[in-house]
C-alpha cells in the first residue's frame, strides 16, 4: 500500500532502512513499524505484515531523533531573532526531535510561569520536544537563587545562567546543592569575566595580528576547575556547556576519573573551525567561547571520541543580519547551528574515521538526552517514534538563505558538507522533509 506524506496514517511501516541504534549502524536493511506515534516493532529484514502503508526508505539511515541540549530560541523578548516556532522548524530540519532551551530570554526564565509559557508555545508548534532550563539566579544577575523547586515542578530540566557565568562561588555552590536534591544538572557557562575582560576572540596569534582583544583559554579553564571542585564538594551534577579548550578537556577527564558527577558538551564549530576563520573580521565567526586553535580542536575531538565529552550540542544562537553586520568587536556573540550540526559532524568526524556513524548518532541522541535525564533519544520497541532518515552520501553546500531558522548567522555558508537529513519524524509524524 502506498504511503502518503500528505495524509499520515496512524499505523505504517518504514521499510528498507539501515537502523542505527545503541551506537551501531545495521549493515543490512531493516524496518520500523510505527503505530499511534510509538515504535511497535523494528529490526532487520522485512516486516511480516503486508497490509500496512509502506514508506520505502531507499536504504537511508534511520536513527533516533537527535537531541540538542543547548539552544537559544529567543522567545520571549527577541522574536526578531527566533521564536519557539521557527526554532523548532530549524531543529526539525536538522534532524532534531528534542531540544533544551537556555533561559537567557528577555525577561529570563527565572520563575515558573515562564517555564510553562515556553512549554505551551512548544506544544502549540508541535515540531519538536522542548525542554526548558531555568536561570540559576533571578534576572540572571548572579546574586539570588531562583525558586529551584517550583521551577522543576513547572518543567525545568536543569539550571543555568548561560550567556553569562556565575561569578559568585557561593551562589554556584548553593545551586549545585539545591539541584542535586531535585535530581537535575547545573550547567556552567565557564568564563571568568575578570580574565575574559573585553575579549572578543581567542587570545593568540590572530587576535594579536588583527588587533582584537583576546579571550584567553584561562578564562574558561579556571572557571571549569572551580565548578568541578564545587561539584566534587557538593555531590551535585555539573554540566559543562560548550567546552572549547584542551585544558578544560583535561580538567573534566581527571574529575570524571575521580568520580565527580560532570557531564559536558562540545559544539560542531569548536570541533571544526579555528581562530584563523576571523581573519577577515567577519562576525559570523564571533562566538563565546571563541574559536580556538588546532590543538584545542584536536583535544575536544579526542574528548568526544573518548567519551570525556558526552555529546554534541549546537549552542544555536540566532542573531539578526543587522547585528551581524556590525564591526567584529561590536557584534553579538553566537552562531546558528541546528541545520548544519549533523552534516558538519558527519563530514569532519565520521568521514575522517574519528567516529563511526553509529557513535556519532548516539552522541547526538541518547547520550545527549542522558546528560539532562531526558526521556528521549532512543529508538526502541514501545518507545516514541522520534526518528530521522539520513543520507550519509549526499553532498551539499550550505546556503544561509535556505535555512529554516529566522536567522542566517551560520559560519558554514558555502561549506561543502557530506550527509543530509532527508526527513524527521516526531511521534510518528513528519516534521521535516527534504525539499519541502
Amino acid at each position: 500500500m502506498e504511503w502518503s506524506w500528505k495524509r499520515i496514517p496512524a499505523e505504517y511501516l518504514v521499510a528498507n532502512v539501515r537502523l542505527c541504534r545503541d551506537g551501531k549502524l545495521a549493515d543490512r536493511p531493516g524496518f520500523l513499524h510505527v503505530q499511534k506515534g510509538l515504535v511497535a516493532a523494528l529490526g532487520p529484514g522485512a516486516p511480516s505484515r503486508e497490509d500496512l502503508p509502506v514508506l520505502d526508505g531507499g536504504g537511508l539511515v534511520c536513527a533516533p531523533g537527535l537531541v540538542d541540549v543547548h539552544v537559544h530560541f529567543r522567545e520571549p523578548g527577541q522574536e526578531e531573532k527566533e521564536t519557539i516556532a521557527t526554532g523548532s522548524r530549524s531543529a526539525a530540519a536538522g534532524g532534531f526531535t528534542a531540544v533544551v532551551t537556555m533561559p537567557n530570554t528577555r525577561p529570563p526564565v527565572d520563575h515558573a510561569p515562564m517555564v510553562r509559557y515556553i512549554l505551551d508555545r512548544a506544544q502549540e508548534t508541535g515540531l519538536c520536544r522542548v525542554f526548558p532550563t531555568a536561570a540559576i539566579s533571578r534576572g540572571q544577575e548572579g546574586e539570588t537563587l531562583t525558586e529551584f523547586g517550583d521551577l522543576v515542578k513547572a518543567g525545568a530540566v536543569g539550571f543555568t545562567d548561560d550567556g553569562r557565568p556565575v561569578m559568585h562561588g557561593k551562589l554556584m555552590q548553593f545551586a549545585l546543592q539545591y539541584a542535586r536534591v531535585l535530581g537535575v544538572p547545573v550547567t556552567c557557562h565557564a568564563e571568568d569575566l575578570t580574565l575574559a575582560g573585553k575579549g572578543v576572540m581567542h587570545a593568540g596569534y590572530w587576535s594579536t595580528k588583527l588587533g582584537l582583544a583576546g579571550l584567553p583559554r584561562l578564562a574558561e579553564d579556571v572557571m571549569v576547575f572551580r565548578d568541578v571542585e564545587l561539584a566534587r564538594a557538593t555531590g551535585g551534577h555539573l554540566h559543562v556547556a560548550h567546552v572549547s579548550t584542551k585544558g578544560t578537556v583535561e580538567i573534566i577527564r581527571r574529575a570524571r576519573e575521580q568520580g565527580v558527577h560532570v557531564t559536558a558538551e562540545v559544539t560542531p564549530h569548536h570541533l571544526t573551525l579555528d581562530h584563523s576563520c576571523c581573519r577577515d573580521f567577519s562576525p559570523l565567526y564571533k562566538m563565546s567561547p571563541p574559536l580556538r586553535e588546532q590543538e584545542d580542536i584536536e583535544a575536544v575531538t579526542q574528548g568526544l571520541v573518548d567519551g570525556v565529552l558526552d555529546c554534541v550540542a549546537t549552542d544555536h544562537a540566532p542573531h539578526t543580519a543587522m547585528e551581524k553586520e556590525l564591526m567584529f568587536d561590536q557584534a553579538p556573540f553566537g552562531v546558528v547551528g541546528l541545520e548544519t550540526a549533523l552534516a558538519v559532524c558527519h563530514t569532519h568526524l565520521v568521514r575522517t574515521g574519528r567516529l563511526s556513524l553509529g557513535q556519532l548518532m548516539e552522541k547526538m541522541s541518547s547520550r545527549a538526552a542522558e546528560t539532562y535525564g531526558l526521556p528521549c533519544g532512543r529508538l526502541e520497541e514501545g518507545g516514541e517514534a522520534d526518528f530521522l532518515l539520513f543520507d550519509p552520501d549526499e553532498e551539499w553546500t550550505v546556503q544561509p538563505e535556505a535555512l529554516r531558522s529566522m536567522s542566517r548567522n551560520t559560519p558554514y555558508g558555502g561549506h561543502k558538507l557530506a550527509g543530509r537529513v532527508k526527513a524527521t519524524f516526531l511521534r510518528g509524524r513528519p516534521t521535516y522533509r527534504d525539499g519541502e
Binding site: 575582560g197 587570545a203 593568540g204 596569534y205 587576535s207 594579536t208 595580528k209 588583527l210 588587533g211 582584537l212 582583544a213 583576546g214 577577515d280 573580521f281 543587522m322 553586520e325 556590525l326 564591526m327 567584529f328 568587536d329 561590536q330
Partner: protein, 322 residues
C-alpha cells in the same frame, strides 16, 4: 609601478615595491613644502571624505592638509553629530556617503577591521587612518620615511619599538613595513602590554629596556594610554617611567647615532622624558611634516596617479597651482 589595490588598509597588504613607490612619491611631494605656494592641482575636481568616527587631531589635520595641497574637494565627517550616534550602522552610513558619488574616503574607527569592511563595501578608495589596534599604515609609512631620510637603506638596521604593543596599531604597521624593507624590529614593554604572539608577526620581544635599546639605530616610542592603568595593565605612571621610560640615561646605552621617534601625542615624563622629547636626538616634528607628504603620496597613487610623472617630477615637473 602603481598600487595593486584601490584601498590602503594596512602595510601587511603592501609589497616592498609598493612601499618604496609610496615613499619615493612622498619624497617628491615633500619638495612642494619648500615652495612659496604649497599646492598642486593633481586632485582638482575629486572629492575626498574624511570619515573620522574616532577622535583624532593630528592625523585628521595631516590628511586634510594633504588633500588641500592636492587641490581635492574635501568633506569632514564629524562623528559626534553623525547618524552613527543615532544607531545607524556603519554600512548604512557608508552606503549613503557612496550614493553622494565621492572618490575617496579616509576612515578612522575604533573597531579593527572597519577600514577593510568599508573597502569591501564601497567602490571609492578607502584609506585606513587607524582602525582600533589593527593598523595605521600612513603612520607606519611616515615613520619609515623619516628613518630612511636619516639612515638610507633600512636593510639590517635595528628599530626598537617601546610601549603598549598590544594596543598599538602603529606598532603593527611598523613591524610589517620595516621587516619588508629588511630592518630588524625589537619590541619592548611590560609583559602585560606585549602579546607573546607578536613575535610571529616578525618582531623580537625583549622586556629589558637597556638590552632592547643597546644596538638600536632608532627608538620608536609609543604613547601609553593612561586610562589603561585602571585596568591593572601596569602599576602606574611612575613605575612605567622607571622601567620603560626613555630618558637621557637610557640614551646613554644606545649608539651615539641612534635617534628617537614618537607618533604623538606624548605623555611627557611617562614614556618619554621632556629632556629627550625636546633633545637633539628626537625627530618627532620631522615625522609630522613627513606625514603630510606620505598622505599626499598615498592619495595621489590611489587616485590613479603615475609615480613616473613625479620622478624628479614633484621636484621639478609637478605644476604648481596657478
Amino acid at each position: 609601478m602603481i598600487l595593486r589595490s584601490k584601498d590602503l588598509i594596512g602595510l601587511e597588504d603592501l609589497s616592498r615595491e609598493e612601499i618604496l613607490t609610496i615613499l619615493e612619491a612622498a619624497e617628491a611631494f615633500r619638495t612642494i613644502f619648500d615652495r612659496p605656494v604649497r599646492k598642486v592641482p593633481i586632485m582638482r575636481g575629486r572629492t575626498v571624505v574624511n570619515f573620522f568616527v574616532e577622535p583624532s587631531t593630528r592625523t585628521r589635520i595631516s590628511f586634510e592638509l594633504a588633500e588641500k595641497r592636492l587641490s581635492a574637494d574635501i568633506v569632514n565627517f564629524d562623528a559626534s553629530n553623525s547618524s552613527l550616534k543615532k544607531g545607524e550602522t556603519l554600512r548604512d552610513t557608508a552606503e549613503n556617503i557612496q550614493a553622494m558619488k565621492i572618490d575617496m574616503i579616509v576612515v578612522r574607527h575604533s573597531s579593527p577591521g572597519a577600514a577593510a569592511y568599508l573597502g569591501r563595501v564601497l567602490k571609492a578608495s578607502v584609506i585606513n587612518a587607524g582602525d582600533g589596534a589593527h593598523e595605521h599604515p600612513t603612520q607606519g609609512l611616515l615613520d619609515i620615511m623619516t628613518m630612511r631620510q636619516r639612515l638610507g637603506d633600512l636593510a639590517g638596521r635595528k628599530v626598537t619599538i617601546i610601549g603598549d604593543i598590544a594596543q598599538s596599531r602603529v606598532a603593527r604597521s611598523n613591524i610589517y613595513g620595516l621587516t619588508k624593507l629588511g630592518a630588524e624590529v625589537t619590541v619592548c614593554g611590560p609583559p602585560t602590554m606585549v602579546p607573546a604572539a607578536i613575535a610571529r608577526l616578525g618582531a623580537t620581544v625583549e622586556h629589558d629596556l637597556k638590552r632592547a635599546v643597546a644596538d638600536a639605530d632608532v627608538l620608536n616610542i609609543l604613547r601609553i594610554q593612561l586610562e589603561r592603568q585602571s585596568q591593572m595593565v601596569f602599576p602606574g605612571n611612575r613605575e612605567y617611567h622607571l622601567m620603560f621610560g626613555v630618558t637621557e640615561e637610557v640614551l646613554r646605552h644606545t649608539k651615539p647615532s641612534c635617534f628617537v621617534m614618537h607618533p604623538g601625542p606624548m605623555n611627557r615624563d611617562v614614556e618619554i622624558s621632556s629632556a629627550v622629547a625636546d633633545g637633539p636626538r628626537q625627530v618627532i616634528l620631522e615625522q609630522v611634516t613627513n606625514g603630510v607628504a606620505v598622505r599626499m603620496a598615498v592619495i595621489y597613487l590611489l587616485s590613479g596617479g603615475d609615480p613616473r610623472q613625479l620622478g624628479g617630477g614633484a621636484r621639478t615637473g609637478v605644476r604648481e597651482e596657478e
